[in-house]
């Protein structure tokens, strides 16, 4: 999966971070305003989706397991790989105060129970990860996930990945006394870390 863009949407639907990663398709780039509209549309559609749950399901909710399995080393260099250049990157890779080779190392529960998690179209796939505090982390992937098991796995990988973006957010943006909640993120360290997460995904 290669990531085309990452967006972060705040609780009120405002866009607080956006970064494109694929420079090849500059002809189809949206401008800044379009991304703002995109963010608030995602926010609204996400909310609507959670309202659209059929009554039958509401009355007798099926036992869905919201646990997301852990996929090792998504977005961080794999220290066990035989690739020696990878190993060098691992030693210089600093996960800040998260220490260790990866941000976390176990399965976790998704907070997103009835909102949109994955949007599959013919041209791209969109993944959404929402934190308990209402922050939405959105990734646009260029590859198209095929429906079925493949889609589920790619969704899990995306959740692992977006949780790491959340970790990076808490690491670099929360410690900035000049940053106030819900405002656009301008931190270069954050930018750099997100970029290295994306680069390591390939």
């Amino acid at each position: 999966m290669s990531i085309e863009a990452i967006l972060i949407v705040n609780k009120s639907g405002g866009l607080i971070y956006h970064r494109d990663f694929n420079n090849k398709t500059s002809a189809t780039h949206l401008n800044g305003n379009d991304y703002l509209i995109l963010a608030s549309t995602v926010h609204s559609v996400f909310a609507i989706a959670s309202q659209v749950t059929p009554k039958a399901l509401k009355l007798s909710p099926p036992k869905i397991d919201f646990t997301i399995p852990y996929h090792p080393y998504v977005g961080v260099p794999n220290p066990n790989s035989s690739n020696t250049s990878n190993r060098r990157t691992v030693s210089s890779q600093k996960l800040g105060s998260f220490k260790g080779p990866d941000f976390f190392n176990g399965p976790f529960t998704s907070w997103n129970k009835s909102g949109i998690r994955q949007l599959i179209t013919d041209h791209f796939t969109m993944y959404i990860y929402q934190s308990l505090t209402g922050l939405k982390f959105v990734a646009l992937g260029s590859s198209v996930a095929v429906l079925g098991k493949n889609a589920a796995v790619s969704n899990e990988v995306a959740d692992n990945f977006l949780r790491k973006v959340y970790c990076v957010y808490s690491e670099y943006v929360m410690k900035d006394p000049f940053y106030s909640l819900e405002m656009p993120i301008k931190s270069k360290t954050f930018d750099q870390s997100v970029k290295s997460l994306v680069d390591n995904l390939l």
């Binding site: 009120s12 000049f178 940053y179 106030s180 360290t189 930018d191």
Partner: protein
């Protein structure tokens, strides 16, 4: 100016190594807490110093209207229904308002800076006691000359408080020292939010403004340095310490992180 080296611990024999190892084990066994919490509390000192200044201003103006003006802590950003965001914003605005204060009322601004510095001094003067009692075998406090004190600050004090040592120590061996920290830890994640500003600033002006905003934060380590010197026999009125920005050498500047290093110029007068 000659450059004094800031050596690490020398392994000069099995005796020294085992003493060092014992010290390390003792240090590991000491009660600890999350560095993030410590870091954030240090950062909160600045808005707090500003808030105290504001409340003192309000206290003085007992009669008539209190022209809060730029001292107002209320955020003026529209659409602020979210309580948490609003309350946090008023404290974040404090750091932006502080820079405005520098232009509007220099006395009050300096009073805030002094407050921040004196916090650092109080803490600095007690740190050496703490580190002495830790019995670090690589520090000997008997017959500590000025250079050794400065090395102690660069190595041990900085390592304990900020997590890393000072990068460079320069001296003229006559009471003047330059302590250069190229990546002063607490400010690495600071980024100015341009939309907060009232006018649009050019890229250059924005950078200058950013440096001005971060200045108050540097009063804290200035205070630490003065406090340590004070506790080791150099009274506060004999020490001048100023913090200025230093350019980073090309090899050191990485993407992200604060664009400048900090140069602490320390001048100690002897009688």
């Amino acid at each position: 100016m000659s450059q004094a080296s800031v050596p690490g611990v020398a392994n000069d024999g099995t005796g020294a190594v085992s003493q060092q190892r014992q010290y390390e084990l003792e240090q590991e066994a000491m009660p600890k807490l999350n560095r993030t919490v410590f870091q954030m509390v240090l950062n909160e000192i600045i808005p707090m110093a500003y808030a105290v200044e504001v409340s003192k201003t309000v206290q003085k103006d007992e009669t008539g209207e209190v022209a809060m003006g730029s001292l107002s802590l209320e955020s003026t950003v529209p659409g602020d229904d979210n309580t948490a965001a609003r309350r946090m914003r008023s404290s974040v605005m404090a750091v932006y308002n502080l820079a405005k204060l520098a232009e509007e009322d220099e006395d009050k601004y300096n009073s805030v800076l002094k407050r921040i510095e004196s916090l650092g001094t109080s803490i600095g003067s007690k740190i050496s006691d703490m580190l002495i009692f830790a019995k670090n075998p690589s520090i000997s406090f008997k017959n500590m000359d000025l250079l050794s004190v400065m090395k102690f600050i660069c190595r041990d004090v900085w390592k304990h408080v900020f997590g890393k040592q000072i990068d460079n120590l320069k001296t003229n061996h006559r009471g003047t020292f330059y302590l250069i920290d190229l990546d002063y830890a607490p400010i690495q994640d600071f980024t100015v939010e341009p939309s907060v500003l009232e006018e649009q600033l050019s890229e250059e002006d924005l950078q200058i403004y950013e440096l001005k905003l971060v200045e108050p934060f540097l009063q804290f380590p200035v205070g630490i340095i003065k406090g340590v010197l004070h506790s080791l026999g150099h009274p506060l009125d004999k020490v001048v310490c100023l913090a200025t920005y230093a350019d980073k050498p090309k090899e050191k500047s990485k993407v992200g992180g604060f664009p400048k290093g900090i140069n602490f110029h320390v001048q100690i007068t002897n009688n």
